[in-house]
Amino acid sequence: MNDIPADLKFLSSHEWARVESDGTITVGISDHAQDLLGDIVFVELPEVGQSVDAESDAAIVESVKAASDVYSPLSGEVIEVNSLLEDQPEIINSAPYEDGWFYKLNPSDMGEFDNLLSPEDYSDACED
């Protein structure tokens, strides 16, 4: 398993969020999640301009075995999606915290970020 970068925070449903220097939020799924899913073959991303709500489904990730909802860690407006995933969804398997990000959003309530799990708390939650 890759080490979890210290600047990420998590939902217990395995999504991560990172605050970028311009105040936007990048969203992806954890290394643990990609490992559970196995080979990822398709991703359905939100539309740019779409509003998403914290802890509501914003994307879908499909491995060979099954389809899973991806929940947004924060509320806000989607400003960019990772178009690389359209043709190379397997990047999520190999680089879940880097090139395998899903989308970026303008957060509407940064207070939601503070409520997310720290890397340590998330790791503990995965072991339960």
Partner: protein
């Protein structure tokens, strides 16, 4: 939870284990897609010891199978061969699909794990009138070694009877209590070896040492789907008859005097109106999944098995649809209508795309 004898061997290899019909089984060891390609390109070894094995003693076993099996067992009598077919109830519903192996006057039946108890009761109910004793062989395990290099690998295994090399497709032979058969569930050449459980660890270790890739149930599912092979409980259940399950070819009514269970019900079915199982390929991005609605010019249907095909690198599935379909149709995925083509369900044969 039931465990096969190889359970700890799977865990040592780092397999992800899942509950499959109350059996703890490996779903994959490394990457499902890599495991899939290993079987298509070289050779893979599968632990399928969760499947049910039955032997039979005494009585008129041929007459017994003539009655309970919808395919005609006479096709393989004295031929050292295996035959695939269905066990039907009186209504023509599919109780299970199974392979009957027949060599040296002995019959051995392998069927699904979820139907073990149902089948045991069904055999016992009908065996009595033929004086046949039913023996559930829970002391047996099954290894499948499949792929273009499978036979070469198998012949290098210590203690393997070299005559297995001469087995034709669907041929089988006993070696003591061990059964070798040129059968499988992948669309590739290879063997299934049904052996006493205490011999299986040694066979497994040798297969790995010879370079066979261990294959989990995940790749087993994508391999059988590409080969167009039904999965019981998924593509057909007791609610389905063989004609709507792509199994019409296994119903043998050549012998008019043979009264097998379910025959009368099948005779009353108008096959020109029954639905069919057909292969589908998704032409847009996405993944077909069980339960999605299918639409064509003359009717509709539903996806039974759906997955991603590592060989075709697109999504494929089996669907049960109304007759009258032509080349293409639509599938509904999350409220979007996407394009599909209807094809013969045999997507891949011996490593090559065959549609």
């Amino acid at each position: 939870m039931n465990k096969t004898v190889l359970n700890s061997a799977h865990i040592e290899l780092g397999a992800k284990m899942v509950n499959f019909s109350h059996w703890e089984m490996p779903i994959s060891y490394t990457s499902l897609i890599e495991e899939h390609h290993a079987v298509r390109n070289t050779a893979g070894v599968f632990d399928v010891s969760h499947m049910s094995v039955f032997d039979f003693n005494g009585g008129d076993q041929v007459a017994f199978f003539e009655k309970i099996f919808a395919n005609d067992i006479k096709k393989i009598s004295n031929k050292n061969k295996a035959i695939y077919g269905a066990l039907l109830n009186e209504e023509g519903g599919i109780l299970d699909d199974l392979i009957i192996y027949h060599a040296k006057d002995k019959f051995r039946v392998v069927s699904n794990c979820s139907t073990r108890e149902q089948n045991r009761q069904w055999y016992e109910k009908h065996a009595a009138e033929f004086g046949v004793e039913v023996v559930a062989r829970s002391d047996m395990g099954i290894l499948a070694i499949q792929g273009p290099d499978a036979l070469n690998k198998i012949l290098s295994i210590e203690g393997i009877n070299p005559q297995v090399n001469n087995l034709p497709s669907f041929g089988c032979m006993f070696d003591g209590d061990k059964l070798y058969a040129r059968t499988g569930y992948t669309g590739e050449d290879g063997l299934e070896i049904i052996v006493p459980s205490d011999e299986i660890n040694q066979l497994w270790d040798q297969a790995l040492r010879l370079g066979c890739t261990p294959i989990g149930l995940g790749a087993r599912d994508t391999l059988r789907l590409e080969a167009g092979l039904n999965l019981y409980g998924n593509d057909m259940t007791i609610e389905n008859h063989p004609y709507e399950s792509n199994l019409g070819w296994t119903i043998d009514m050549t012998d008019e005097n043979r009264q097998f269970i379910g025959k009368q019900a099948l005779l009353s079915i108008d096959q020109s109106k029954s639905q069919k199982i057909i292969g589908i390929i998704l032409r847009d991005k996405g993944v077909l999944r069980s339960g999605y609605e299918v639409i064509h010019d003359k009717g509709k249907g539903v996806v039974l098995s759906g997955s991603y095909s590592p060989t075709l690198q697109s999504s494929i599935g089996l669907a049960r649809v109304d007759q009258g379909y032509k080349k293409d149709g639509k599938v509904m995925i999350r409220n979007k209508m996407l394009n599909i083509d209807f094809v013969s369900p045999r997507f891949v044969e011996k490593g090559k795309i065959s549609i």
